[in-house]
């Protein structure tokens, strides 16, 4: 954590120094400062702490059935975690649904451990028991780090989910007429100083999909992809997406399939 706050201090110093320079220089320096900061962040990711918590949650028997989650099938067979996250979302025969990591975890929490999943769905992000989902997502995403994203919709339900996700991406609503595409539908744009990935392209989709879940330094929080999407919709001025609902899984399918072939870098770290 110390390295992180040093990185922040360095960033602030760079930004402060930049403020005294002439306009053009100022801009370059601020950009450089931000890049240096982002690089510094890669060195020592607090997400490791969440991965450790997630691993414990995965392996510790719990719930009415006093079972661990180790028998959970994430798509590569019961208990196989290596690389599984890089091949999600996918169709699961037992539920007859396309599921992302978090909705699949809810299935296992229910079937293997016998727990009621409603508190997991309804609780706020960062509070119990939802925070367990972030830790589990951090752990399982770490088990896919370095493996290629391999999501190609084949099953009709996977293909439908992809198409629904694409349509969701362009769906405008709310008082600002925003869609995901408003910010993520053109290449090379920024909101303030924040670069925006172009999601309909492989590079942009990969920049997003391969780096979440991520530790957010400014918030001091571990964010799963579901949390990331939830906050996108908040800023889009939409009503709140239900945790692990089909709209979120559809968007995930659209992003993951578009990102397919790129290397998973999870858990990531963000400003």
């Amino acid at each position: 954590m110390d390295r992180v706050s040093m990185g922040l201090a360095a960033f602030l110093a760079a930004a402060a120094a930049a403020a005294t320079a002439a306009y053009a220089q100022q801009k370059d320096k601020a950009q450089e400062g931000i890049e240096a900061y982002r690089e510094a962040l890669q060195d020592g990711n607090p997400a490791e702490l969440f991965e450790a918590t997630g691993e414990e949650l995965w392996k510790t028997p719990a719930g009415p059935k006093n079972a661990s989650l180790e028998g959970c099938d994430l798509g590569l067979g019961a208990g196989v975690v290596k690389g599984a996250y890089a091949q999600l979302p996918r169709y699961f025969k037992d539920t007859d649904k396309v599921q992302d990591l978090e909705s699949r975890l809810l299935t296992c929490i229910s079937t293997l451990q016998g727990k009621d999943t409603k508190p997991y769905i309804d609780s706020a992000f960062g509070t119990p028991p939802k925070e367990e989902m972030n830790a589990l997502a951090a752990f399982l995403s770490g088990q896919a780090k370095g493996t290629p994203i391999d999501v190609t919709p084949k099953h009709p339900k996977e293909q439908a989910m992809y198409e629904l996700g694409k349509r969701m991406f362009y769906f405008q609503g709310g008082p600002y007429d925003f869609a995901c595409a408003t910010c993520h539908g053109q290449e090379g744009q920024r909101i303030r100083m924040q670069d925006l990935p172009y999601i309909p392209g492989n590079t942009g989709a990969a920049a997003g999909w391969s780096s979440w879940p991520a530790y957010r330094v400014s918030a001091g929080q571990m964010w799963s992809m579901q949390w990331r999407l939830n906050d996108c919709f908040r800023q889009q001025r939409f009503p709140e997406p239900v945790y692990a609902s089909d709209a979120t899984i559809a968007l995930s399918m659209y992003m993951a399939a578009t990102a397919s072939g790129a290397t998973m870098k999870t858990p990531g770290i963000k400003r």
Binding site: Y23, Q26, K27, A30, P156, K157, Q159, A160, M161, Y162, E163, L164, K166, R167, M168, Y170, F171, Q172, G173, G174, P175, Y176, D177, F178, A179, A181, T182, C183, G185, Q186, G188, Q189, R190, I191, R192, M193, Q194, L196, R234, Q235, R237, F238, P239, E240, P241, V242, S245, D246, A247, T248, A250
Partner: protein, 211 residues
Amino acid sequence: MKRIVLTAAALLLLGGPALAQSAGTWGPGADDAAFAQMLKASFKDRGIAKLDRLSQDETQAFCSDPVASSGPAAAARREEIEKANLATVKWPSDGTWMGDWKEGEKIAQSGRGNTWSDKADQPNGGNCYNCHQISAEEISHGTIGPSLLGYGKTRGTSEDALKATWAKIWNAKSSNACSNMPRAGHMGILNEGQIKHLMALLLDPRSPVNK
């Protein structure tokens, strides 16, 4: 402007037969009925952000299909939508166009308002710097919209320039059917007084935008 509910949602409510739909932009499994059903099951009210925000007006519905809303074939429809949006513009009630550019700068800086974590009684920001360069001093600006640096210097303050700028802020879709810019006046994001301040930020010769 008349608010329309998703055709498919209406059909679901009426329980009527699906209308013949062209295959359109969306592939198998993402037809209107399936999409409406997904929306209905996937969102919930939170704070001031209620489910009615997913009921699209005709502009939003048209612009949600990037294929059908672009290209020469859609030109006539785009023009209709622009006309309908232009008709919603409310012109200044007292004949004055400009307020205080300093207040305008504050509104341009603020991105708050209208999320489920905001309160309805707080004034909304304009979100302007999120997408536009405006004054040279603010280097933290977005690039989704064009740079507005020197806006008033290049355009002047003729009646035409004032009207065009007012219409753009009040309802950005009045001149570009599927602009990425929100319709600040039309959707009640900003009030008349706030829009006058933004007008001053862009057009007042004393504003840093025109230095």
